[in-house]
Symmetry: C2
Subunit: 400 residues, 2 copies
């Protein structure tokens, strides 16, 4: 059944392909964006691999290619008057919320980017919750979270909830989270706020704890070059596999942080699109916060680098793996077993990582090889400032 679907952050890497996919499936789609991401790119001096048309140009191209309309609302989610006006005029059945600052390194640059990230994400999400409550209480909120919220606990990661037996009694909690950056913390804060909105106001929401997304193409981006999505290979906005493929194309060593035993969940961008379709097709009940772990496979970062090295070699590109000092503070060797069956139960058909897929990503990137700026691949954002790290090491050596 056709729904009215509002995509927040519709100018982004995942937002734009998601909007196109729902539009092509016959839904009425509107996107919201304030172009903050394009400003952060200017701020740190990076750009997507393929130059992006403006959002207006992309919507126009979409109309020319498919005859379909994607409506645009330009404004900021932290401005409640704007959010209210969007909900009042569009009256969505489902809201897909990608509209947040999505980079862990960006959140760790300094106090300004840290507090901006937390206020921007938390306040924007709260405004969406209030707009749903007061203007469209039956709307299904589909919120993008991240697997990075969980951290790396020494027990299995369940899908959103954990039943605890303690001193002879039992309680089911939202799964307790130990995230690895001030960005990831915003997603934890959001989840707690959404849980409250479901418990107290009876809203319906699905929280998607997504793994690291890779890939450059979906069925819709492939329709026309103007419909391409925002593909980043820099350390601040690029994701792991995407960065490795770009490094392979320019012959840059594949840079692995520390031991490389950091294990995470991964998925193809085509599966992100599938998962969003499944989440929207199966709305949560009133008062329910559903939580899905949205990824298809787990790899260590070293395994991932080895996969790219080998696929590149098969295509005649020799590239080495280089372990560099870890700019983050994280366990580099740990237990990791994250459940991810709920989306499979709903019908997800995964596109698993294959050498062919990596080879095809490398070939696509190669068409833009001349545009790759090697200088932005490493950005040098550190989780612990040098001065503090040095002081802590001196303190530890002195037995403090």
């Amino acid at each position: 059944m056709a729904q009215r679907i509002l995509v927040l952050g519709g100018d982004g890497y995942l937002g734009w392909p998601t909007a196109m996919a729902f539009s092509r499936q016959g839904h009425r789609v509107a996107v919201v964006d304030n172009f903050a991401k394009r400003r952060w790119e200017l701020e740190i001096g990076v750009r997507p691999l393929v130059p992006l048309p403006t959002l207006h140009e992309r919507a126009q191209a979409w109309h020319e290619v498919t005859g379909l309309e994607i409506e645009l609302f330009v404004g900021d989610l932290t401005d409640y008057a704007f959010v209210e006006s969007v909900f009042a005029s569009f009256r969505p059945d489902a809201v897909i919320h990608y509209g947040e600052q999505p980079s862990a390194p960006y959140s760790m640059i300094d106090v300004r980017t840290a507090t901006y990230t937390q206020a921007n994400n938390v306040v924007g999400n709260l405004n969406v919750l209030f707009a749903i409550r007061d203007l469209a209480p039956e709307t299904h909120l589909v919120k993008l979270g991240t697997m990075g919220e969980y951290g790396t606990p020494n027990i299995d990661i369940e899908e959103g909830y954990l039943t605890v037996n303690h001193n002879g009694r039992e309680h089911t909690f939202l799964y307790p989270k130990t995230p690895g950056s001030l960005y990831h913390l915003t997603k934890v804060h959001d989840s707690h706020n959404i849980h409250f909105a479901c418990r107290v106001w009876g809203l319906r929401a699905t929280d998607l704890n997504q793994g690291v997304v890779y890939g450059i193409e979906t069925d819709e981006t492939a329709l026309d070059p103007r419909l391409t999505t925002s593909f980043h290979y820099d350390e601040v906005f690029g994701t792991a596999l995407n960065r490795f493929c770009v490094q392979a194309v320019v012959g840059h060593p594949l840079t692995v942080y520390g031991k490389g035993g950091q294990t995470r969940g991964y998925l193809n961008i085509r599966d992100t699109i599938q998962c969003l379709g499944l989440a929207v097709a199966h709305p949560a009940d009133a008062g329910e916060l559903r939580v899905y772990n949205q990824f298809t496979e787990q790899f260590s970062v070293l395994e991932l680098a080895e996969r790219v090295r080998d696929a590149a070699a098969a295509g005649g590109r020799e590239v080495v793996i280089e372990r560099i000092p870890n700019p983050r503070k994280e366990d580099e060797s740990h237990y990791y077993n994250a459940k991810h069956t709920k989306l499979l139960d709903l019908g997800l058909e995964p596109h698993y990582l294959s050498d062919e897929l990596i080879g095809s990503m490398i070939d696509t990137i190669d068409q833009h090889a001349g545009d790759i700026n090697r200088d932005v691949i490493l950005q040098g954002v550190k989780w612990v400032p040098d001065k503090l790290r040095d002081a802590r090491e001196v303190g530890a050596a002195a037995g403090r």
Copy 2:
């Protein structure tokens, strides 16, 4: 050993008595405030029972009475340049952080007060963490949280951490929290951010999950009428026992929400002062987030009302208990067993609630009976707006 102690929110109900207590113990004390609380009072039309001098006048009175100095910094914790300047000039050994919007009902008034509360508290606390990291990394942060963060889980509430056995493996998490208002959520967000700062930057912090505080007098407020603290009896800023005592004085029924089985931890304001002293005297290690549950007794709200009714009757005041519809959304009958041994182990000597204490509070309040405004006792802030509640009830009746 004398320390340099910075009290954030030093104009408040607990901040001002805390500052005086540390000053009298020989520490060098500075307070920070932006007087936001006095503005919120104007906003909703309430005032403390006893008119307060300005903070400058209080510090002057403190000097006249004791010969001691309490230094003042006037500014906003959400302004990093201000926070930086305070840390650069005062270089605290310990920071006691009360400087947040502290009212659950205020946070539930509307989208504006909700987003203000979350941004104000979370950003202010983040700024404090960055200032400690970059200017005074050995400083001990003593942060005020609340027992309300935990909610009412069906298992014992431990002090800050929960060890979980799951599928044959074990992990210790920050105790998972299910708070009851958008204000309480800010304290949960803060705790997660502080935990990150301890884990990643090696900061030292103590998180005090405080129960509901009652009382009007400490050793220092009793020294001079000008040193009184901010005592509220309105529904937005007043705490349970304090409000009941005021209701008893004016002959207003003691208003209990719903069944009154809501059980919470309580403590005397004198014990708050003691607990802060113990926390500061025993700093956390570098990298450690200590968590204490700071209360001395647990009561249901109905038990508390009965205690006040009986103590009032003993003093010749007849007052009835009235159950009113619960404006909050909370369990009115639930399991509740919250651990609180760590501060006792450090030497806390509780002032338990007694009929004499209630009688003495009532007598103190009676001296200001002429200033009590009955109209502000109930403020009518509802957790679920009437319109939404009606819609949900119609939906439930129709079997949706």
